[in-house]
């Protein structure tokens, strides 16, 4: 029997959700227009006043907000409330530039906590659960976000924070931690340490985990589930919108429900900015419709995902988003078609390549865009026959064409011949001279 923290809204008919969204959207737009000069100017440039925004149908007319806006108005210039109304400050880690600061009123903390409480209940958390929070506590939203949500739903919080893995495992054992919250990579690290120290996960009380704050794959999910003997769930969020809990897996593990009464989601073509229908991969854009301090409108996340309005077996009517499949910053436009390196990687993985190393080369020959994908040929893929290798190339090309919509040339290259770089790999070489 599925349980909900806020059943009346989580299972509400779509028309009811949309009605509420329309009301909240128009109020939020007015709040931003009245209090945030940067956004007011942007609306004026678009020829819009708050009166033009009456329902969710008007959402796509609104101008976007970008991470750069938060940087340009550092620290508090995008806030829509005076300091006396603030309750808390968080900040992003600043890994891709200057850190960005976000603020919350008491009301904002409450709705964020409610979102996390809904998420925890959706994965089966009960009042007698011990929610072990191994996200960092501090300016980062992970630790306090899960903490407040777990308290709101009535579970017991173990605020372990991150680090000292041996001690974390000791706490699992002694305190009976039943739900683990941390990054997926840290979950795997905990599993490694447990194995080294001979701790059998079956001897622990752990039954589930909420993992987020970094991209992870279905393969990682399977690995965490097997190695920690738990169910692994995804929780999505970003500090600019709230923090973890913007969207969450339910027990079905078939996409993350967006807390749509607080955050509206759109998927757009990052180039044309056109709103895309269900199932099409594009950039995730969020609009906060109930927050007070920082209700960003049409915030460009640069995360790539799809959404679906298909009913979910759990009974929730909130739209579901897929696991983010990469970043729109990496997008290429080839013959007018948007191509994301992450799509190419997923094809190579599905073709049995364990650790694909590839490079995308785009060129323009006789005014025609051509794409070549160089793939390092691993031992498992190699055969002693030309025919066998050519068949693999053909198959890969067909798979790429069905996924990307254009047919690339596939070239096999020797292992280690594609340059490795520290940190983020530059997998694309665009030789087109377009400027």
């Amino acid at each position: 029997m599925p349980k909900y923290f806020s059943p009346e809204i989580e299972t509400a008919p779509r028309s009811e959700i949309e009605h509420l969204q329309s009301y909240r959207l128009s109020r939020t737009v007015r709040r931003m227009y009245d209090n945030v000069p940067t956004y007011r100017r942007r609306m004026e440039e678009a020829g819009l006043t708050p009166d033009d925004i009456k329902s969710i149908k008007d959402l796509s007319r609104l101008p976007f907000t970008y991470k750069q806006d938060l940087r340009d108005n550092y620290p508090y210039g995008m806030f829509a409330v005076p300091p006396e109304e603030l309750t808390r400050i968080h900040a992003s880690s600043g890994t891709t530039g200057k850190q960005t600061v976000v603020g919350y009123t008491k009301h904002d903390i409450d709705i964020w906590s409610e979102c996390v409480a809904r998420a925890l209940v959706a994965i089966g958390a009960e009042r007698n659960d011990f929610v072990h929070v191994s996200y960092g506590y501090g300016l980062f939203t992970g630790g306090l976000g899960l903490h407040y949500g777990a308290e709101m739903m009535g579970a017991t919080v173990i605020p372990a924070s991150s680090g000292n893995t041996a001690r974390q495992i000791q706490i699992f054992r002694d305190f009976g931690s039943s739900i683990l919250c941390c990054t997926p990579s840290y979950a795997l690290y905990i599993a490694d340490v447990m194995k080294q120290n001979g701790v059998d996960p079956k001897s622990l009380n752990l039954k589930a985990g909420f993992f987020g704050a970094e991209p992870w794959t279905e393969q990682m999910r399977a690995e965490i589930e097997a190695r920690l003997n738990i169910k692994a769930y995804d929780i999505y969020g970003l500090s600019e919108i709230a923090g973890p809990g913007v969207a969450f897996d339910c027990a079905c593990q078939k996409g993350m429900h967006v807390n749509e009464d607080h955050f509206m989601i759109e998927i757009i073509d990052p180039e044309t900015c056109e709103v895309l229908p269900d199932g099409e991969l594009g950039e995730v854009v969020f609009t906060c419709i109930s927050k007070e301090a920082l209700p960003l409108i049409r915030y460009r996340t640069h995360d790539l995902a799809t959404i679906t309005h298909e009913p979910c077996a759990c009974g929730r009517t909130f739209v579901r988003m897929s696991k983010p499949a990469g970043r729109s910053d990496d997008m290429l436009i080839i013959r007018g078609v948007n191509v994301f390196p992450s799509q190419i990687e997923s094809v190579l993985l599905s073709e049995g390549s364990v650790d694909p190393h590839y490079k995308i080369i785009v060129d323009r020959i006789n005014n025609h865009d051509v794409m070549e994908i160089q793939v390092e040929l691993s031992g498992e893929m190699f055969t002693d026959q030309v025919k066998g290798l050519e068949e693999q190339q053909k198959k890969m090309r067909a798979r790429m064409e069905s996924v990307l919509g254009i047919s690339p040339k596939i070239t096999f290259v020797e292992p280690m011949s594609i340059e490795r770089s520290e940190g983020k790999a530059r997998r694309v070489e665009d030789r087109r001279k377009l400027h």
Binding site: L377, G379, F382, D384, Q385, K387, E414, P415, M416, S417
Partner: protein
């Protein structure tokens, strides 16, 4: 009659073949027979060597993609009609590729065959009096 062949993936670019053969020479491995299959973008170098397992390990360490395949090594009479007699025996067996070399021991010509049904080919050839090179 069956022997181990090592196949090496080589990108089609200037100097690569000599780089790979240099690694083989540096490790004191003698090449007894070879063939190269080439396409516009890559080649497959197929070798019969003294110690294919050792060579495979060396190549793996040098991050060169290689694999070992079981092939047939058959002696045929070094005279007109020697090859065609053998091929007739294998008419219904698919031959993926073949190449020849002259053995060091005598007048026989040796032929390396990659077929789709090794065991059946060996049976048939042995019954007809064919044999592999003397090791």
């Amino acid at each position: 009659m069956t022997t181990k062949q090592i196949s090496i993936f080589i990108e089609n670019r200037r100097g690569r073949l000599s780089e790979v053969t240099d690694i083989i020479a540096q490790n004191g491995i003698n090449i007894r027979a070879l063939s190269v299959a080439d396409t516009t973008s890559f080649g497959i170098l197929r070798l019969i060597v003294d110690d294919p397992e050792r060579l495979e390990a060396i190549l793996r360490e040098s991050r060169i993609t290689a694999s070992i395949t079981s092939v047939l090594s058959v002696c045929i009479a070094n005279q007109p009609g020697g090859l065609v007699a053998l091929l007739r025996l294998l008419e219904d067996i698919q031959i993926e590729y073949m190449y020849t070399y002259v053995s060091q021991e005598g007048d026989d010509a040796c032929i390396i065959l990659r077929v789709d049904r090794n065991e059946e080919a060996v049976e048939r050839l042995t019954a007809a009096g064919y044999h592999g090179p003397h090791a």
